[in-house]
Amino acid sequence: MEPELAVALPAAGWACTAALRPRPRMALAAGAVFGAGGVAAILFSAPGSASTDLGVSLTITAAARAMLVVAAVALAFVVILAPARAERSTMLRWGLAGLAGMAAIAVAPSLDVALIVLLALFVLQAAALGRRPYLSRLRGPLLAVALIGLGLVFARMGGPPALQRIAAVGLVTGLVAAIGAVPFVQEFDAEEMTATSPMPWLTFVGPLLAVVVVARGRELIPGQVDVLGALLIALGLVNVAYGSIAAWRVDSAAAAWRYLFMADWGLVMCGLGLGVADGLRAALLILFGLLLVRLPLYLWSRQALRDNVQNDRPVNLLVAAALAGSAPFAGFPARVLLLKGATAMYWPLALVLAPLLLLWIPAGLRLGRTLGAPTGRQLFGVAIALAVSVVLGAYPQPLLSLAGL
């Protein structure tokens, strides 16, 4: 029953927080109770064992379960230590909706069902009050669903091997379009609320989606796994180069954050595409860091970005080091594992990746300053995020073990 509850409890929490919107404290309490129940259900779900209580077989993989748990912890983290002007119950409402959708994607009996859930999530987000026109919010995401859908159909057709290769193209380009990375960058408005912007796909829902789509994709086209991997690596390298240079050079600091997320996604795609254990470990470590460190830091930087406050205090330098992926923060072992995996797979790839990793330094230094001068609850949050990053960097094995690696 756990997979069903993992979906139902966050969904109930979302419904409660939406219904209790006029009473934020009650909404927060109800959402917290249901959300905690959902996390418990996720934790008690045994990876690989199927639940058939609803008449269909629902299972969850260890990697998807770990990603869900980390996403739930990240949500709790940003809600408890919410930015100064953010409404906690609103953040929790959006987060629980995302978490319920993510749980449904993770336990879905097939990629088709996961895709239908993703489609519903896209339309629900686009229907909310936002600054961008409706069509511009929906175009990229629906294109993503269409591309993955076409990939699924091609994967199931009998015929020449080229069909399976086209399926790989559909799956990979669809995944990239869903997260909004290059070449499917979505319109971005720095003033838009984070929940209605493209950011949740890059930073919250995207990590789980990538894990599910790549894992299921490998099962669907076992004969063309190398094509799937090559495409992921190619698009990953493009995102690494484009994202890290844009994060350094773009005028808007808010846009620079988004580009740095894209650059991180480039590394994730390379890691997932390598198809070796070290690559997968690197990808998951970067995704954990994205959820637990970079997403909270981005949210806390929003007010300083609006006020155009920049600072060079020690905390800003520490954040810069964490964003740049230097030791002892989480990005460092991920990069080492990625280079190790690339060397094992095809050593010239490591030669390309190594200099590209240096591009994180100017971008990190720039974005560390955009955090402004955090004080009080925000400073406490930054300290915790950095501590988590150090723990992940020094001893990542517990989380990797949770993901079955």
Binding site: S110, L111, D112, V113, L119, A127, S136, G149
Partner: protein
């Protein structure tokens, strides 16, 4: 039966591509649901067929609540859309009849053709009503696409697709058009 259902599905998707009025979009969704249901029925999936037909009809009925008045089928300037709908069908037909092999030729024609025309609807510009109709149509096509697979609870997928397709049309939007 298979050919008629597959062509009906493509006609439904093309109506969504070619229509700007709420009635045209609603008709497109209903015809698309009916065509895909016919394909499912022909393949021996009666429950899935009922779900898809109900999903298409429900989505079409709910679509009537919002959007430009009238049918709006093939308004002035829609020639490129008509050409693309035809080209999509021809490519899908070539794919289903010449390149691919095995049973389920109707699925192999209808699902790529429908997904392609609905994606084109978004890429060529659409108002809120048309984008919503395209989203519901894609959900229905994904549902019937799962019938090509041997595992993964395809009937449940069709039911989920039908529920989502109709549910997407029931969503009320927070603001009239962008901001």
């Amino acid at each position: 039966m298979t050919a008629a259902a597959a062509i009906a599905a493509w006609v439904g998707g093309s109506l969504i591509l070619l229509s700007d009025g709420r009635r045209g979009l609603a008709l497109g969704l209903a015809v698309l649901g009916g065509g895909l249901a016919g394909l499912a029925l022909d393949a021996g999936h009666a429950f899935a067929a009922v779900a898809l037909a109900a999903g298409g009809a429900g989505a079409g009925a709910l679509r009537l609540r919002e959007g430009a008045d009238g049918w709006g089928i093939m308004p002035p300037g829609s020639t490129p859309r008509l050409i693309l709908a035809t080209v999509s069908a021809l490519i899908a037909l070539y794919l289903a009849a010449v390149i691919t092999e095995g049973p389920g030729a109707g699925f192999r024609f209808a699902v790529p053709a429908v997904i392609a025309v609905l994606a084109l609807r978004l890429l060529l510009g659409a108002d809120r009503a048309a984008a919503g109709a395209a989203a519901s149509g894609i959900a229905l096509a994904l549902g019937v696409g799962s019938l090509l697979s041997t595992g993964g609870a395809p009937e449940a997928t069709c039911i989920a697709a039908a529920v989502v397709a109709a549910g997407l049309q029931a969503i009320t939007h927070a603001e009239p058009d962008g901001a």
